[in-house]
């Protein structure tokens, strides 16, 4: 694989992860917490109505988990393509 092909394959996989993770992000907050809140409120989680719980608690927990899953996936992806540079600082395009 040339540098260029490698870069575009890496980018494609990255986009795939983003689509999956952002779908979950959308479903828990805008889906469960807002659009389908009234339907979910028919179910209960302890003393919470489920839709209300998603809006004020659940979605936030999922957000945190999502970012750490993303960090984990990307670290693996970086290794797979040899972009892993944890030991040295990223060179930047400072002018």
């Amino acid at each position: 694989m040339t540098e260029k092909q490698k870069a575009s394959a890496y980018w494609k996989e990255n986009i795939k992860y983003l689509v999956i993770l952002l779908s979950i992000w959308f479903i828990v907050s805008f889906g469960c917490g807002i659009l389908f809140k009234d339907e979910l409120d028919a179910f209960r989680l302890g003393g919470f109505k489920l839709g209300f719980w998603f809006a004020q608690q659940g979605s936030i927990y999922v957000f945190v988990v999502l970012i750490f899953v993303y960090v984990h996936l990307m670290n693996k992806l970086d290794k797979k393509y040899g972009y892993d540079e944890s030991s040295k600082p990223t060179k930047s395009t400072k002018s």
Binding site: A7, S29, G47, Q56, F63, I67, V71, M74, D78, T90
Partner: protein
């Protein structure tokens, strides 16, 4: 010991700590000053980002706001946390790879245009100034409340403290001070919340206590819903905003959060891309601690308030009620002359209470603008967090701790914002546009001078707040969502995006947002009154309009860019290089 003494001790100790850190972490170069030398560890950066993010508004006002809004308050909870997912996945790693000092830097270079850079600088300044004025006001309120000084002196003390650590250390000093401030503010927020959770539900974790049972065996939330229904309020767990409006406000807050310059700039301070991703996760985790506790505090405070005052004789009310009445944040007018407090749905007074200088038959402060509605009680939303420990009868040191925490929250956010303002002036305007030949030392001096000017201006607004500040702070998110967010996202994900597209998108988004704000929220003094809710476009509130303006920005940018020339080859190379986390094969010398 009295609350007063405890407050002096806790505030004194925490301030000594901040000063010590500022002196220890002095900055020598512009790189240290702007981005702490790019050498902050992900954990420290995560803590600093969290402190930077959680302002006086998050600490003092949010839980109170939610306790009066019920379910509708979810827009803040989801909006101000969900934005970090966008930030971590769509912006932070790529901007870190790009490796400049500021957001206008990225916009200016990516869109090879000083016009784009200037538009970005203007957006950054508008957003940051409206925000920082609110913080200085917050500092003034906390000082005046707990140290019994005038708001004027409260703001002056706050200005001196912020100046000291911002001037000495720049980003480096601010980062390490913010780490300490995070610890202070989260401790101060959690302690009373845990105490009250144990008191009301017997559960040590407020997040679980919120869904727990109270003494008589019913669920706390059910009890609150019942209380609300009895008093004529909307059920606490269902909202009164339309579903679309909740959706629009949440999305605008999320996109706005990830587009705020003082948040983005924090990700320039870590050593590499991997750490940028990680520190976004740590930041959100640390923020989530407060943001999942706040709705629990809202429920506890709301229930406590109703139970303490509703239908109780004024004479038998606890001391805190009268203390807050004296500060003008609570008002009661005995409309049916029964000596008891009727707290039901509706406005008790027209706007804010106007006190006459007389006392009524029960000893209450009389107001001259009582409304015709049945509700007799006015409670300022801001006091819920501050008064909560008193309402729940917690020990004095806990009450004092809340003061120290509120100050930490306000000061850390103010410092972060002031740095963005000074960077915009010294780096984006002076270095990049007016006088490129300026030396590193000269730029550093300019940065420090502009901090002084920015502190004085924001201090002035803190002492004499224009009425529109509160309204505009909420809309700062809409502005960021309508202007920065699409330009940055497209700059990374759409290689074909050119300067014509990005600039026209930003201008359309910004102008439309400003127009809607003025037309429906602030009005123009003496010229135009804001239009009522019934006139809203598609039923969208001004707070949620950022979503529509953002969509329009994206649309305009995409269409315009497809009918104008593609960006130059070297710019396309930059885009390819920022998509790859490692330093190899990156763009140079443009």
């Amino acid at each position: 010991m009295s609350v007063q003494v405890w407050t002096w001790i806790l505030v004194g100790v925490s301030f000594a700590l901040y000063f010590g850190i500022a002196i220890w972490a002095r900055a020598g170069s512009t790189k240290e000053f702007y981005v702490a030398g790019g050498s902050v560890s992900p954990l420290a950066n995560g803590m600093a980002t969290a402190a930077d993010w959680m302002s006086a508004a998050s600490f003092i006002s949010m839980a109170g706001l939610i306790s009066f809004m019920g379910y509708d308050g979810s827009v803040y909870l989801m909006g101000w946390t969900g934005g970090y997912v966008l930030l971590a996945l769509l912006l932070a790693p790529y901007l870190r790879k790009f490796g400049k000092f500021t957001v206008p830097d990225f916009i200016g270079d990516r869109y090879y245009s000083n016009t784009a850079r200037t538009v970005a600088v203007i957006c950054a300044l508008i957003v940051s100034f409206t925000y920082v004025a609110g913080q200085m006001r917050g500092v003034g309120i906390v000082f005046s409340q707990f140290l019994q000084v005038e708001i004027f002196w409260g703001v002056i003390i706050g200005m001196i403290v912020v100046l000291a650590f911002a001037l000495l250390g720049g980003m480096k000093g601010i980062t390490y001070t913010q780490v300490a401030q995070y610890c202070v503010l989260i401790f101060a927020f959690m302690v009373p919340a845990i105490f009250i959770s144990i008191q009301m539900t017997g559960n040590i974790v407020p997040q679980i206590g919120m869904g727990g049972r109270v003494e008589d065996g019913t669920f706390l939330l059910e009890k609150l819903d019942t209380l609300h229904t009895q008093l004529g309020f909307k059920e606490y767990t269902s909202g009164s905003k339309s579903t679309w409006d909740v959706f629009a406000i949440t999305l605008a807050l999320m996109a706005g959060t990830s587009g705020l310059p003082h948040v983005i700039v924090r990700f320039f301070t870590v050593p590499n891309v991997k750490d940028a991703r990680k520190s976004a996760g740590i930041a959100l985790l640390l923020i989530a601690v407060l943001y999942t506790t706040a709705p629990a505090v809202s429920v506890f405070a709301r229930t406590n308030l109703i139970e303490t005052v509703s239908n109780k004789a004024y004479k038998n009310l606890p001391e805190w009620f009268k203390n807050w009445e004296n500060t003008g944040l609570i008002a009661w007018s005995d409309k049916n002359n029964d000596g008891k407090i009727q707290y039901v749905n509706g406005e008790a007074v027209d706007g804010k209470p106007v006190y006459t200088n007389e006392r009524g038959t029960n000893g209450e402060r009389l107001v001259s603008n009582a409304s015709a509605e049945a509700n007799e009680l006015y409670v300022d939303r801001d006091i819920m967090v501050l008064a909560n420990p008193e309402i729940a009868n917690l020990p004095n040191w806990v009450i004092a701790l809340v003061a120290a925490g509120g100050l930490a929250a306000a000061l850390s956010t103010a410092a972060g914002l002031l740095l963005v303002i000074s960077t915009s002036v010294s780096h984006d305007l002076i270095k990049k546009q007016l006088k490129p030949s300026i030396s590193d030392k000269g730029e550093l001096l300019a940065a420090r001078l502009s901090i002084v000017v920015a502190v004085v201006i924001s201090g002035f607004f803190g002492i004499y707040p224009p009425g529109f500040v509160a309204a505009v702070v909420a809309l700062a998110f809409g502005l960021a969502a309508a202007s920065f967010f699409p330009a940055i996202v497209l700059g990374i994900f759409d290689k074909r995006m050119n300067k014509e597209g990005a600039v026209s998108g930003m201008i359309v988004g910004l102008v439309l947002m400003l127009f809607y704000m003025i037309r429906f929220k602030t009005g123009l003094v003496g010229v135009l009154d804001p239009l009522p809710e019934s006139e809203w476009w598609l039923g969208t509130s001004p707070e949620g309009f950022g979503t529509l303006a953002m969509i329009l920005n994206f649309t305009v940018a995409l269409i315009v860019s497809r009918f104008t020339p593609a960006p130059p080859a070297d710019v396309q190379e930059i885009v390819e290089s920022i998509r790859i986390p490692s330093g190899a094969g990156e763009a140079q010398g443009h």
